[in-house]
Symmetry: C3
Subunit: 135 residues, 3 copies
């Protein structure tokens, strides 16, 4: 299987970043090309000055009845899992140029794990007929 796995990452909480990272690492380990597009809060999470901060959990963790079993979101290794994914295979990480504008930040403020900035059209062209997952 050589189809690309394409991830539109929108969310910036540690649990969703981790879910995206594990999908990327799993696909990379299976020799599938992985294309990531960072938007909004996921893009914000890759700012160099924010990497070490706690990124919180999804709203779902806060609703009534939930046991909130995850203590300390810093312990969720989302960034390490992305680094591992890059070592395992061909993983390209694109900062969405539109989201850079909305957030008022420059691509140089992001961790070097981000390869470049680009638009939706570039992402969709690379995605071809592979799967697209929005997280």
């Amino acid at each position: 299987m050589s189809d690309t796995l394409n991830l539109v990452m929108f969310s910036g909480t540690a649990d969703k970043l981790h879910a995206a990272a594990t999908l990327a690492a799993g696909a990379a380990a299976m020799d599938r090309p992985v294309n990531v597009l960072l938007q909004y809060w996921a893009l914000d999470a890759f700012r160099t000055e924010r990497l070490a901060e706690s990124h919180g959990l999804a709203w779902d963790a806060m609703t009534e009845g939930t046991a909130r079993p995850v203590n300390g979101t810093k312990s969720i290794p989302w960034l390490e899992t992305f680094r591992m994914a890059k070592e395992l295979g061909q993983v390209s990480i694109l900062a969405c140029s539109g989201s850079l504008d909305v957030l008022g930040i420059d691509v140089t403020t992001l961790d070097p794990i981000v390869d470049a900035s680009g638009g939706i059209a570039t992402f969709l062209m690379n995605a071809e007929d592979g799967q697209i997952v929005f997280i």
Copy 2:
């Protein structure tokens, strides 16, 4: 590439509505048919009487450490981007009949940009083997 891009829109915050709209516009500009299914809070956002309201931001914008760089969610042009997508190509917007029931609203209360109401089966039939993105 003539494959359909299929969007199940569930979320009703301005940032996620905008993320969906940019994907729709990008695909439409590439001559790809786009099928949208509106559910729950995304459906609620297309109510005529709610279009002009502020729609807030995703929970991710509220978590600790986030700089909340987006001020004023009314400035996020999600509806205009959907109108542009419709002008650019073939974009069909379906109100999920099950969600209309759950929310207790009628399709006539929605903006005319919504083409019709229909069920999951109709959406999945139209989607064929194109990509499905849940936002």
Copy 3:
């Protein structure tokens, strides 16, 4: 159409669980194999001792301007819809082994509707070139 529909379920609120269940049931009714991977809060929702609890609504229901038309999330029949999906067709539900570890729970604490536990690689292998939807 015999392509698989593959759902990565992450969210644990009743509305998103229901959205996932209706997609699973719709695809099963069309004779499509459905593979579900339960992660984080969706996994937590399938714990036997939590099934009868209220699971809340997505953050989108709480933002300003929303009419919150859904009263009582216990009335959203997400579990019944999953049981129906299983009766309609071939629906396999996998508990993500990594998420079991993060939440510190064992697969035996989950409702018997969950078929087994497994990893991302197993899920991606089963997904082949079918659609992947993250909810």
